[in-house]
């Protein structure tokens, strides 16, 4: 076997097993379309491991799931789930533990944060009176669960960020505001927040913001994240609520 073939096979396995980073994954995905040997290697790898999937024991019938699929086909805008936000209003627990260095206290903070965001959404009712009315409001919390900033997303490519504290931003760095509209899109920048002051950000056109959509502010290098994805430490984060 030539080294080239071995490399292709190894790459195909890593692609199939989900071991590539996002950039390499996208590259393989694109190369498959033009590179027949890579395509063949990926096909072989999938079928090599498929037997493990077939061992998964189907549970009870996924009731109503076909109905949801059919409804989405009828109206593509309506039913595509935002899986990060799925579940029962407790999005934090919707995501499985994936960190080898868990920080005790986060969970409690997150749960109390939901209560805090509900209270604040009510308490800051004045903001609802402003026009245009925001589609969603997210209260962003720090690691201790303290509210630190509010994001109102108007759903028309603009969002308002209201810091509630003076954030300490190191020299040569900037704050950047992000949201996660869907797993497909991944985290998307709403814009830079150079100072801790109330700002309207003109972001990209995105799907309408939804209940429990994630918003966060990270510290990035001056000019913003070089990759278009959050790279720096997370200052604060929170999940959106729709004004009732």
């Amino acid at each position: 076997m030539s080294a080239g073939k071995r490399d292709i096979d190894e790459l195909a396995d890593e692609y199939v097993l989900g071991l590539l980073d996002a950039a390499d994954y996208a590259r393989v995905e694109a190369d498959i379309e033009t590179d027949s040997s890579l395509r063949a290697a990926v096909a072989a790898s999938r079928d090599r491991f498929l037997a493990l999937d077939l061992l998964a024991k189907p549970g009870h019938e996924p009731e109503g799931l076909w109905g949801r699929i059919a409804a989405t086909l009828d109206d593509p805008k309506a039913g595509v789930p935002v899986v990060a936000a799925a579940g029962d209003g407790d999005p934090q627990t919707a995501i499985r533990t994936a960190n080898d260095n868990p920080v005790a206290g986060w969970r409690l903070a997150a749960l109390s944060g939901i209560a805090a965001s509900l209270l604040l959404a009510v308490g800051l009712g004045w903001s609802l009176l402003l026009q245009p009315e925001p589609r969603v409001i997210a209260v962003l919390l720090d690691g201790a669960g303290e509210p630190q900033a509010i994001v109102e997303d108007f759903g028309n490519a603009s969002a308002r960020v209201m810091p509630l504290v003076d954030f300490e931003v190191p020299e040569g760095r900037t704050m950047q505001v992000w949201t996660l509209p869907s797993q497909e899109l991944g985290p998307v920048s709403l814009g830079l927040l150079p100072r801790s002051q109330d700002m309207i950000l003109d972001g990209p056109v995105l799907p309408q913001p939804k209940e429990a959509q994630l918003y966060e502010i990270t510290i990035e290098q001056a000019g913003g994240s070089p990759t278009g994805r959050p790279t720096g430490p997370i200052l604060v984060k929170g999940f959106a609520k729709m004004p009732r």
Partner: protein, 183 residues
């Protein structure tokens, strides 16, 4: 198996022509098991169902791209679902809160054991079973954690308490041995 594969390949061709009954056929043949596969990665049933919903929309829209040179129809359908589940887990890792309580750790340990032992359920005649059985325990376990539970190298290193480089080497060498064994 062969007949099942043909049914699925036909159904994909039907989807490409816009026949919704064909998608329904795929759902009836594989939907429940796809939920189970997604749930092995995501743990939570409702997330798994959401992923399968998304996957079926993607199967519907991409069915025209399926061709036999992309492997079996079944493998293609499962790959779409697996990718969506893995994306969700990976994004969650980057962006979401962790859930650091002992219950989660216990659950994890149970999950890991399940993943590590599942290969024994493979049919005796199955080539993959034969080849997995030839791997040493650490490599086999690492590969199954990656494939069955969707772990990353870093997560394997953390769970098995070895350096990242070691975990990567186990997976890489294990995969190479499997390729050779199954060639």
């Amino acid at each position: 198996m062969q007949e099942h594969q043909e049914k699925l390949a036909d159904a994909l061709a039907g989807c490409a022509k816009g026949d919704r009954n064909a998608l329904r056929t795929i759902f009836e043949l594989e939907g429940a098991r796809l939920v189970a596969v997604a749930q092995r990665i995501l743990r939570r049933r409702e997330l798994a169902e959401d992923v399968v919903q998304e996957a079926f929309i993607q199967i519907w829209t991409k069915a025209g791209q399926y061709a036999p040179d992309r492997g079996s129809a079944r493998g293609w359908i499962y790959a779409i679902t697996r990718n969506r589940a893995l994306n969700l887990v990976r994004d969650g890792k980057r962006l979401e809160f962790t859930e650091p309580d002992n219950l989660a750790d216990l659950h994890d340990a149970e999950h890991m054991d399940h993943a590590a032992n599942i290969w024994a359920d493979l049919d005796n005649q199955n080539r993959l079973r034969e080849c997995l059985s030839r791997l040493d325990e650490t490599k086999r376990r690492s590969i199954l954690m990656v494939y069955v539970s969707g772990y990353t190298h870093g997560e394997i290193a953390g769970r098995l308490k070895v350096p990242l480089g070691t975990a990567k080497a186990w997976v890489r060498r294990g995969l190479a041995s499997l390729r050779e064994c199954m060639a």
